[in-house]
Amino acid sequence: MGAWALQIATLAPVRVDWPGWTQVLQTLTFRAGFNSAGVVLAATVLGIAGGTVGTFALLRQRALMSDALAHATLPGIGAAYLIAVALGATGKSLPGLLAGATVTGIIGVLTVHAITRHTRLKEDAAIAAVLSVFFGAGVVLLSYIQRLPTGTQGGLNHFIYGQPAAMSLRDAALIGGAAHGAIAVAAVLLKELRAVCFDDRFAAAIGLRVFAIDLVVMGLVVLVTVIGLQAVGLMLVVSLLVVPPATARFWTDNLTRMTILSGVIGGLSGYIGASASAVLQDLPAGAVIVLTGGTFFVVSMLISPRRGVIHHAVRLATQRAAVARDHFLRGAYEVLEIRGVKPGDEAGGGFTLHEIKPGRTIGLGTRVLAAWLVRRGLLERGSAAGAAKNWALTARGHSEALRLTRNHRLWEEYLVTHAEVAPSHVDRSADRVEHALSATLVRELEEALRQQGRLPMEFATAPASVHPMGGARARAHLDAAGGGSA
């Protein structure tokens, strides 16, 4: 565990020197010296590549696999170093180390495939096993290397947590070149990647080589992982691939836009994160890059207009309020109906909250709702009937309650008599039943209700001519919705 101990020890004494504005501005505009400009640039390009490639890894459900791949690179780094030393080199050539990382990374992926294919283990178990065993092997190798008298092994630990500051400009150029290649491949094969990620069976049936496309995706993931090792380290490199597309998905339903947005988010994370760690010495750059991306993700998850947490919460609350309001008004209507009170009758119109919700305790929610209904002019405090029965519907409240009750009962009748029609086929939230069902059908339903004595009152007195206009509207509505299916 030497590698771990060493790394943790360097993490411990974090001391933040807050920089001045000029320094921040200089870093952000690549003017804070040659080396730091190279680092920021490399991190940005790496972020773009990670976001672009990651989109397809995520949609092809290879996110966890990417993590296994990243962890499986560690023994390769150790082995490459040992081989180089045995051959008489210093062992610290970056291409050599990355080649070793690539080899064991791919072996890790193939091992996962072999396990899932030849045993009954599911992929997640295979991934977890491969990830931990390969990483364990890597840690053992590195701690062995630490005790070798070569004197050049110092930087190997940086591959675990990343150390972009240690990158030379040549390394940055290597990363930049590889990242551009990854983006170019993804752009050229966008159509094929989309087909395979969405429906691999259909893709195979029309002659796309699904296996080859999968190899391309995995190859790009390997590329990003390996070139990202130095910058963010193998523990965190998976987040370059997963966090930007997951963030982008909150904002768009279009794959092309999602891919571009994901690249932009990845690039911004790399840019901001690397700049921040260049300015705030001692902050580990890899972690800061990842945290920047994480911030984008959390904010998106909260505020995304269609898929965000806040949006969902608001929609749920709105829905509940609407249901509670409908229940309240229908409850009030039914209380009056049982009493035989006609709309417009002065006497007997009062009711208590307990009558509306019989047998249930009246909580704060119901009182708030009542107060809200009063403000909307649907409900009033009736003083005439005395303190006990202190609520009454206004004229508007009454007609609204009537409409709701009628709609509700027609739908009930419809669901009972036409049970064979798929419920999803009918928009029951429609303002009036006529908007969703044909006029003839509504008349049939009303007739059925009338015979049961359950047709709400105003309609009982004026039967056959129910909304002829509504029927025409309903048909137009259906034509538009069904798109002329017949």
Binding site: A195, I206, E420, V421, E444, S485
Partner: protein, 294 residues
């Protein structure tokens, strides 16, 4: 093993010839020695059989999606690989993630990827063709909608439109009627007939025995081995169904007949055909439970 052409019953003009097909998942045979020739004239062929009979597997094996342990498949007298471009495919709707970030139009355009070719961009002409296919299934207005916002029936229509976009000569459809609403069922039937009138042959895995006679002209009865195949009028008999379903059929059939009798005369045609009430009069909605209770 003789070549297919040398056997008199295997004609090079047949849209689909299957010879001696055996498919096994881990040692258990799923399909066993299936020998079949599709009718020469354009037809709608139902592939019928109990659960686990290998209906979907038959389709997938024809399309080269699952490996065959033995056998040959020929499309118009040539191996499938050479004929890929004349074969259209509608997979089961549940086989994909409908939250995928694409629009209905994007999915339909996928039907033309083979025509477009590797690494080439989708042109305006292909998009226009895809829109036309969506129009044919009554989905023109929903072309740009994200697929997760479509109902089950609409998603099924998107898959059909994608198959249309392939402009194939024969089609394989895996349970196109599963879990769709009445309006979609009608749209699909109309589309199948339209395809037949344009000279296409369509093979459908089908579950609802009640509608086989109404919708299809040929039937393939399958239960691991091929029980019978041919025109519905001669092959879709009680005796053959018993051979296919064994003891299970009696239960199935009684239930289905009871439903059919309850459903057919009952509903009055009260609205134009696109209204909900009108759509219901078509009857034959699988699993129509007891409508009473009111």
């Amino acid at each position: 093993m003789p070549a297919l052409a040398s056997r008199p019953e295997h004609s090079a003009r047949s849209p689909l010839s299957i010879h001696d097909m055996t498919v096994a998942y881990q040692r258990r045979p799923v399909l066993w020695d299936v020998d079949y020739d599709a009718p020469l004239e354009p037809s709608l062929v139902a592939i019928v059989g109990p659960n686990g009979a290998g209906k979907s597997t038959l389709i997938k094996a024809c399309l080269g999606l699952v490996p065959m342990a033995s056998g040959q498949v020929e499309v118009f007298g040539q191996p499938y690989r050479a004929q890929r471009k004349v074969v259209g495919y509608v997979p089961q709707r549940e086989s994909v993630d409908w939250d995928f970030p694409v629009s209905a139009l994007d999915v339909v355009v996928m039907g033309r990827y083979a025509m477009i070719g590797w690494a080439r961009p989708v042109t305006r002409a292909h998009k226009q063709a895809a829109r036309e296919c969506l129009r044919q299934v009554g989905m023109a207005d929903l072309a740009d909608r994200q697929i997760s916002q479509l109902s089950g029936g609409q998603q099924q229509r998107v898959f059909l439109a994608r198959a249309l976009a392939q402009e194939s000569r024969i089609y394989f459809m895996d349970e196109p009627f599963a879990g769709v609403d009445a309006a979609t069922e009608h749209a699909i039937v109309d589309l199948l007939r339209e395809l037949r009138s344009r000279g296409r042959t369509v093979f459908c895995v089908h579950h609802d025995l009640q509608t086989v006679e109404q919708y299809f002209d040929h039937v393939v009865l399958l239960n691991t081995r091929l029980v019978a195949a041919g025109p519905v009028a001669t092959v879709f008999t009680h005796e053959n169904l018993r051979k296919t379903y064994g003891g299970r059929l009696t239960v199935l059939e009684e239930a289905a007949q009871a439903v059919a009798q309850a459903a057919r005369p009952g509903v009055s045609a009260s609205a134009p055909s696109r209204g909900v009430a009108g759509a219901m009069t078509g009857g034959g909605i699988a699993g129509a439970g007891g409508g009473g209770g009111g």
